[in-house]
Amino acid sequence: MFCMALRSRLIVVVGIVIAVIVVGILVGIFFRPTPATAKKVVVYASLSEMTTADPSTEFSNSILWLPLVYETLLWYDPINNKFIPGLAVNYTVSPDGLVWTFYLRKNAVFHDGTPVTAYAVKISIERTIALGQGAAYVLEPIDRIEVVDDYTVRFYLKYPAPLDKMLAMPYGVYIFSPKVVEYTGAKNYTDPKVAEWFNSGRDAGSGPYKLVKWDPENEVILEKFPNWWGWRERGYLLANPNAPDVFIVKIVKDAVTQATLLKAGQIDIAQYVPPEELENFKKDPNYIVVIKPSYQNLVILLNTKKPPLNNPLVRKAIAHAIPYEDIVKTARAGYARVSSGVIPYGMWGHFEDFKYEYNLTLAKQLLTEAGYPNGIDRVLVLTYTAGDIYEQRTAELIKISLAKIGINIEIRPMSWEEQWALAQKGWEDPEAAQDILMFYWWPDILSPITYLYNMFHSKSKSFNLCYYENPEFEKLIEEAYRFEGTDPSKALELYRKAQEILYRDVPGIGLWDMVEYRVAKNRVGNLENSINPAYPTVVFAQALNVKG
């Protein structure tokens, strides 16, 4: 009986296997895919979901692809401290720094075929200012914009400011086609219908790529725009004849998975692989690793209104009790630099002498001086963004180290929304807020002002989460910013003074400046020049030299 059953089962199995093979062969014969017209596809894995697709208000993750679809007047290369022309070929500034004139290139067209004109520039920038969201605050110095002729646009400022840097931001200064109003039947540019139109997955840009699929939680697909002026411009830095035809941004939310997909050949460029795996990728000739500085830094902000951290001596004790070198080694496997102040390394306005020495004896002494010889009897709460492994590792080391001088920390992972909501309470009631908040800062405008104003100016309620108020400091940075466009050395001197105050008062502590890296398959050439620290997370696909 048993034998019979086994045999009949065997026959069934063999039958199924044969059937599968036959069907497979038939499918192979009749449904052979038509040979693809060798389109070059490059897949780039992004760690975070995309946010919105509105070029005027977007202030978050979507800048990963916006600069490929939209263009700005200028691009900024911070490593060589020079501008790369975008839609503007040239510009002039009046001696008082108040009037800026930009000359546009005449061969640029939007994806809908309309030429890029001075009027488009005017309405694009005005829309950002009018909507007042995202990076709009940076454009505050702009008084009015004048269309001189079709290809000349003039900006009048209320007070001197570095307009060229402002217009090279990765946020809010993208130029879009004036026809969006027609397409949507909106009353004007600020009509919510326009934003709706953008967020429905259409684009009105003039960049080298068109948006063809918008699925912000899974993937964004971009396709080459053949009429982009840059493809025909000889020797243009941001263009390559072997650029990919299709550029896919795929959301892969985990670094380990990104490394696995890269090895499996399912993605071409990984935004993040675990830093610990980087050595292996460097050794393997099948991959290229590009390492660049970045202007993203990790900082902690101390609640300056709540005891015991309202005492500058306690804050200083903490600053001296953090093992910066060890944190960099473990949290980022060395792919970071110990911060010196809150302005990251490599940026204009950074100084190398604002480091705090890791010295527990000194820290203990400061704590005693502050009146806490036996340590602090309350457990201080440190919040960080849950899921961020680098923040978590940093927080753990801070906790261990501060315990040695008698400061006990509870590290509390929270979603960014929760973390921020808790921190916002601090302005009304400092007691209700956290004691220490850990977060990253990265620049909108590439100027020290974005760090100093946002995190430490009392008017910046959203991000000054140390609740620091110091009129002297505020006056210094406001003044420095005004001189930045016309008298950089004077501005630098003022920025230095402002940072000296921060160094003394310790409302916040810079922990480490991120060293950024991308790993790609070696078919993706020229990756080195397609990454620019001024535009974090962006891979300028139009400059890639893709083989095969």
């Binding site: 380990v256 675990p274 610990e276 795996e277 060890d326 473990t330 849950a386 753990e396 590290i411 992972p413």
Partner: protein
């Protein structure tokens, strides 16, 4: 009690697999209870120190489970982790059992409108995938040992409520209950003397079987980053931390993972043993098989 225990032990010894399960559970409970006192490197276990010179050391006689990224002994961390797994799993099951039994009893025995409403609420909870609901709750409540217990118990009790409800309903119409009614016993007396003792067995058996799953779910929450916060060495957290280094130091994830696996298998075997022991029909059949 002693007799029952002896008989149970006899039953176990005859079945090596169940006996192995029993031993695993025993070790886990003993180690979990006395964990803080048997640590050789308590500072490592509690995450109070770090030593980068000792980081990423593979398993060796000195560090049987190797060391993690901060140079801490993994064996000590895993041992301390058992305490949290034990605490969370037992609390979750006991808490859910308490709620489930009461809800099931009330809706099964009293019935009527109250019963209907309670069971519909139970159904609502059952409609959600349990882990998903737990993740949502843990995210809202914040991260911690207590919130993990609350989040898991909230998704867990409806299963017991349902089971209890069904059993109570079948016991309710048993002849001995009818007889008790005829004698004129009060409803309360019937419930406490007849219904409850005779309905508890299936629920308790189920609870025994579930402890393994509770350990696993608690670890899942921590693995996903919504469970127990650092530096508590909960197993799920240890696995998720080590996972980042899997290409370089496999042992950081491997040993907590193996321990978790063995413990859960142990509890499942033990749960099966209890189930079989308490069910005479199953016991006789199984004796032949195992």
């Amino acid at each position: 009690m002693n007799v029952v225990f002896k008989e149970f032990m006899k039953f176990l010894i005859k079945r090596p697999l169940y006996f192995a399960g029993f031993i695993i559970v025993l070790i886990f409970i003993v180690v979990g209870s006395i964990a803080p006192y048997i640590l050789t490197k308590p500072e490592d276990a509690w995450g109070l120190t770090y030593d980068l010179d000792k980081a990423f050391k593979p398993p060796s006689p000195e560090h049987l489970f190797g060391t993690d990224a901060l140079g801490r002994d993994m064996l000590n961390r895993v041992i301390l982790g058992s305490r949290y797994s034990l605490l969370i799993a037992l609390s979750v099951v006991l808490l859910s059992l308490a709620i489930g039994v009461i809800v099931g009893l009330v809706s099964g025995y009293i019935g009527g409108a109250v019963g209907t409403v309670l069971m519909r609420i139970t159904d609502m909870f059952l409609a959600y995938p349990p882990l998903l609901l737990a993740i949502a709750l843990a995210t809202v409540l914040g991260r911690g040992v207590v919130t993990t217990i609350i989040a898991l118990a909230t998704t867990w009790w409806p299963w017991y409520a349902r089971l209890m409800y069904i059993t109570v309903n079948s016991v309710k119409s048993a002849p001995y209950v009818e007889a008790a009614k005829v004698i004129g016993l009060s409803r309360w007396a019937i419930m406490t003397r007849y219904i409850v003792p005779n309905s508890l067995t299936p629920v308790i058996t189920q609870a025994m079987l579930d402890i393994g799953s509770a350990i696993l779910e608690a670890a899942s929450l921590s693995f996903l980053g919504v469970g127990v916060p650092p530096p508590i060495p909960e197993w799920g957290r240890l696995i998720s931390e080590g996972w980042q280094y899997i290409g370089r130091a496999y042992w950081i994830s491997l040993f907590p993972g193996l321990t978790l696996l063995i413990t859960v298998v142990g509890f499942n075997l033990f749960g099966d043993a209890v189930k079989e022991y308490l069910n005479p029909r199953l016991r006789n059949v199984a004796q032949v098989r195992i």
